[in-house]
Symmetry: C2
């Protein structure tokens, strides 16, 4: 494996996916320190937030600034861009075209569009827009564990006719085992011969790093991760494990350890993510972690037997 991962690039999603944990309540100092650490570590991309429009989202007022990135603000946060490029994620239906500067006037290099399989067409329209404005683009297809074969084949056709640079396999529920993941990568590889691939994993069953490594070995290029695994519910593949294990002399672990020691350990005392039993249960059942997230907000947060009974008793279990 080792010799076969030098083609990989890491996309650190600590701020964007981690923001789902703390409502994007990261200080400017936190984000600046992270940017410098990732740059020193050799990490190629930092996803610094969402580029959705606050006008198109409910409950936007309470969120931190990384929820709705503004170019002017970003220029103050990162007065000097270093080697690490900046990325933002958008959701379909939540982008205001007028917010998107041409790339040469923007701090962002990469814009990624997340969608479910049935919205691939809409997502590819957005991709075209970002592409025309000069950005690198990715299409991140979520919840692939719940997609039927014919839907996937139809999507592949649309993708092959699009300008998107990279197509992502997203294990939204953390439910895919190494074999499943390996099969998906092979399928994407076969059906999208001219597209580069990316993966985004979740750690519900402690498989995020293993699945990411397996994808890397199979030629997948963009690997999503977050420092100390910070991300919604069970969190993500960790940046430190990728930096420590991908074979590329440019990667340095020490700056990532600095970020963990200085900011992530204290943050983890206040906020929760990682391998926690209710998230393991939604992962094994291949469903969205929202029921487990709701449970973790109650005094019954560790009552996993009742939780398991509710999700697995047909007459009372909710639909996905």
């Amino acid at each position: 494996m080792n010799s076969k991962t030098s083609h990989c690039k890491i996309v650190d999603c600590t701020i964007r996916d981690g923001g789902l944990v703390n409502n994007w309540d990261f200080s400017v100092e936190f984000v600046q320190h992270l940017y410098n650490c990732l740059n020193d570590a050799g990490v190629e991309y930092m996803e610094i937030g969402y580029k959705n429009s606050p006008k198109l989202l409910k409950g936007a007022d309470s969120a931190g600034p990384w929820r709705f990135l503004d170019d002017e603000f970003l220029r103050k946060v990162i007065p000097q861009k270093l080697n690490t490029k900046l990325s933002a994620l958008v959701d379909i239906g939540r982008v205001d075209e007028n917010d998107i500067l041409p790339r040469e006037q923007s701090m962002l290099d990469l814009i990624r569009v997340a969608c479910y399989i049935q919205d691939v067409d809409k997502a590819l329209e957005l991709v075209q827009l970002f592409h025309d404005r000069g950005y690198e683009t990715t299409l991140n297809i979520m919840a692939l564990s719940n997609v039927m074969e014919h839907q996937l084949l139809e999507a592949f056709e649309q993708i092959n006719n699009s300008v998107v640079d990279v197509v992502y396999i997203v294990d939204s529920y953390g439910s895919l085992k190494p074999n499943d993941f390996s099969h998906l990568v092979d399928k994407f590889r076969t059906h999208l011969p001219n597209k580069r691939l990316g993966v985004h994993t979740h750690n519900n069953m402690q498989l995020a790093f293993a699945n990411t490594l397996i994808a890397a070995e199979k030629g997948v290029e963009l690997l999503d991760a977050s420092v100390y695994g910070m991300g919604r519910a069970a969190g993500n593949c960790t940046t430190e494990l990728l930096v420590a294990n991908l074979k590329n002399p440019k990667y340095k672990l020490r700056p990532v350890l600095d970020m963990i020691e200085t900011y992530m350990i204290p943050l983890r005392e206040k906020e929760e993510w990682g391998y926690i039993i209710p998230y393991m249960i939604t992962g094994m059942l291949d469903e969205h972690p929202r029921s487990a997230m709701a449970l973790r907000d109650t005094p019954d947060k560790d009552k996993s037997v009742d939780f398991y009974d509710k999700l697995t008793t047909p007459e009372v279990s909710h639909s996905k």
Copy 2:
């Protein structure tokens, strides 16, 4: 993968390996509840402790009774054996032959001998003793990531000439990646065509479950695990993930969740194991976690940058 794991058997090591965390300070109620849960869950073996002799070990006085299992005591703990068999681990040089009853008079079904590669001959002598007294036996070769090819080939020859039932691949330092692990399993399979195989993993790099699954797929039969991953340092593959994911209708997750909810969550508040950065560092460096365990006992326990510097600066790093 799924259809290929029905040959597997789980060996729960919560008491034995978990005892390395809390000096075997488990109450009788804890162990009884665990036994009943594992039996209800369909787990085949429970490793209930060590069968070393207290006369042959320093500092034995402070340890709980699971450190030096006594058959008379065991009969009180488990007055009625159910389907789950009982196992004990021994280390070479620490066994008093007089402690070992013939199997028909003992509560134990399986005795496992742990050793480093250079002591395989001594370990196989012990295996012969246990075999002659009627026990199932395994040979657990530790620290395989640090073993040279010619040592391994020599050991294979001795093992092929022995009566041992099962030979274990032990990733003592949690340093093996899926590819490494897969290669080792293939090598053992090729060179030990008439022996059954087992694996014991550690979770320093969040790979314990993934590596165990990969081994299971390749025909490995005995899979070590512990509830909630409790085990020294980064801990083990978790029993709940195996029970939830191995394809065998006999396995039931609910009793394992009961054990976690009732005993393991409160225990984890007092005792520490799991994915913790200093253990990740010793894992990636392929060395024993003792330096990280020492660090975790100091006020500097989260100062992983200094720790990393010490282990990676040639002039100051200690030998393994």
